[in-house]
Subunit: 226 residues, 2 copies
DNA sequence: AATTTTATATGATTAATGTCAGCTTTTTTA
DNA sequence: TAAAAAAGCTGACATTAATCATATAAAATT
């Protein structure tokens, strides 16, 4: 059982409000897990009974629609919490969480979160701000899907991926998504996504080497994205 | 200055957790307002500095996109609160709120909400649940826009309007939206919306008399909506 | 009441994007 | 390493839904 006081990623989530005693108590009740790439943390409809704190790795939160397409609602990276919404709503998960890379996560049981919620106003305020931030992002995402073209959304998504997850030493996007997953973020068909990537490539906006995507002209991409 | 203790709609929002003292204090600091149909409560980008509690009437929360279309993100009815998200995030409004009917609202200043938040755990938990509910709805709405056809979404929206706002004695939808507004909810062009309403009419699923829409076969509509 | 403006309606056309099919490359598994 | 499976790519085509044009009806204004 590792220490929560030393945990760096804590600073990035609502947990930053916890005091020493609370952290000791947290360390005692949390459990650590390794989630392999492609494995689910939980699936839509499951009862989660706690929240996950991501120590390393990235995961996608998505919803499978009746036509078999996986719409990615958001990506989560180290330092963020997963499952707050359904914990607070006291409902089963609305989205499926699947690891995009090998992940390390800590599971904090619901009872512990609720007791923190009661005892620590700053913690609950932080949690609330996170959920409110998610709500704003999701509203904006919704408007973007309904008002922008696929090309604009793809450009927007590529910029988002670079800004949020950074790049490798060779300049390529650090996060590796399949074309299908990228399409799921953009909300388009896989073929359309591939075709537009290929167009961007021909226009010199990006470079493609297998799964690696390198953004060459981010200003032009930003202009396309609006 | 009217009484908050006697206010019925309080029961429908996070405010139901307030005790007698808190309600007296609330009554003393809140202000009541009449908003005429078509008038804005606030616009995107404005600082709201408090929350509105809707006593009567309905309003739309929408976002104007660069191409001039108004995407309606959600509708709000009596008993609900408006502006929690930006209050908690401490940000300007992300959406514009416009009255669809004459409305009565009470404005509660930010300082009062924050002090309730600190003093009353149940209140903050309620507020949090509301925001989480909004987040789930918005996520689902987003997936619906990206995965369903316009026809399916229109059917879905009509069912939602009947279930949420009820019908008049003659069976027509109680809430009256322009075709443009309905299109804004469905996320489609006004013409497409009109055309599909006309199709539904010909198929005997609904009846149109001017602005009045009457749902005739809600089962078939539900089947179309999925 | 007449006129202007706005909303609703419908047809024709175009543009955007999804679907299907076939092929190549990459990855996985035996 | 060979074979099989999955992912990526491209072209052809179909479909959906947006746009444009125009007509009618309703509402607002003079």
């Amino acid at each position: 059982m590792s220490n929560c006081e030393q945990c760096i990623v804590r600073q990035f989530s609502a947990l930053k409000a916890l005091n020493k005693d609370e952290l000791v108590k947290l360390a005692a009740c949390k459990t650590s897990h390794i989630i392999k790439k492609g494995a689910p943390l939980f699936e839509e409809g499951e009862s989660v009974n706690g929240i996950y704190c991501v120590t390393s790795g990235v995961c996608k939160m998505s919803k499978l629609s009746s036509n078999g397409k996986d719409q990615i609602v958001k990506l989560i990276k180290a330092g963020e919490l997963i499952g707050q919404r359904s914990l607070i709503s006291d409902e089963p998960a609305n989205l499926t969480a699947v690891a995009l890379e090998d992940m390390e996560v800590c599971f904090i049981p619901k009872s512990e979160v609720l007791s923190l919620f009661d005892a620590n106003n700053q913690f609950s305020m932080n949690l609330m701000k996170t959920v409110c931030g998610d709500l704003k992002e999701t509203s904006d995402h919704m408007v973007s899907i309904s008002q922008k073209t696929v090309k604009e959304r793809l450009a927007e998504t590529l910029i988002y991926l670079e800004e949020t997850f950074g790049k490798n030493e060779d300049g390529s996007l650090h996060i590796q998504l399949s074309r299908e997953e990228l399409a799921g973020m953009v909300s388009t068909a896989t073929e359309s996504c591939i075709r537009l990537l290929s167009d961007f490539n021909k226009l010199g906006l990006i470079e493609l080497h297998g799964k690696k995507i390198t953004i060459i002209d981010s200003n032009k991409l930003k202009r396309i994205a609006d």
